[in-house]
Amino acid sequence: MEIQVEHYLIISTIMLCAGIYGFLVRKNTLAMLISVELILNAADINFAVFNKFLFPNQLEGHFFTLFAIGIVAAETAVAIAIIINIYRNIQTLNVDKMDKLKH
């Protein structure tokens, strides 16, 4: 049996939906950030797979994934800096307690 595009897409779909579930259900900001990481990885797999199977003579998907990995690193660093700053101010990571701007 030849491995087709669909087989790779099934894996990335499962990863994406696990990430969506975690992002919607979790209360801890760090756990939510981990779920976002899953979603971004699923998208990266798709870029690489489409590049390999549909346009094997070009490298667009390959480089998009490469730059996406760099941007994810930047995003994670800033997000974690913000989370640590929030923790310093209100001593919790629970999103339900983060309502100072609301009231």
Partner: protein
């Protein structure tokens, strides 16, 4: 139906990623969640290796496993999460999340299986992209070459370093 080495490896990686990505979002301890995320990222790198993108897999392992997971572990240890991060999540909150995730999965699977992908005839999974091509494409200024995004990404990372230090420093 012949079972090749490629298929066996693919199946193992697929099961590995599925199990650990579900565990990442369901486990009770945040440290375990970060560890399972690390395994999922290793699985993603394995997929890149399977596709012949060796450089991409190496970058994935270096940046994610070497950088991002360390950041997560440090921030988990610096902050004080609940013993069980699933406490306080009501059943009425889990069900809508589960339904929307499964509905999204259903729609995506429907599109994947009804859409007719046309793989290029010259697609050869085992063919590796050589390092010289990647290097010339990354820092070349011509058509289908990526010097501008490369430089912009450098500026973005600099801005991110400064921003991270500014946000996280003690006042």
């Amino acid at each position: 139906m012949d079972i090749t080495f490629q298929n066996v490896v693919f199946l193992i990686v697929a099961i590995f990623i599925t199990v650990f990505s579900v565990l990442t979002v369901t486990t009770n301890k945040i440290m375990r969640s970060a560890t399972y995320l690390l395994f999922v990222l290793f699985g993603t790198a394995a997929i890149y290796f399977l596709l012949g993108y060796t450089f991409l897999g190496a970058v994935q392992i270096m940046v994610y496993a070497g950088g991002i997971i360390i950041l997560y572990v440090f921030s988990i240890l610096l902050t004080n999460s609940d013993e069980n991060i699933n406490t306080g999540i009501k059943r009425g909150k889990i069900l809508p999340g589960l339904i929307s995730a499964l509905a999204g999965a259903g729609i995506i699977f429907f599109i994947i299986f009804t859409h007719n992908f046309m793989p290029s005839a010259s697609a050869n999974i085992l063919q590796e992209v050589d390092m010289k091509t990647i290097g010339f494409t990354l820092v070349g200024g011509g058509k289908h070459q990526y010097i501008l995004p490369f430089e912009v990404l450098g500026v973005l990372l600099l801005a991110c370093i400064i921003g991270g230090v500014l946000i996280a420093r003690k006042r």
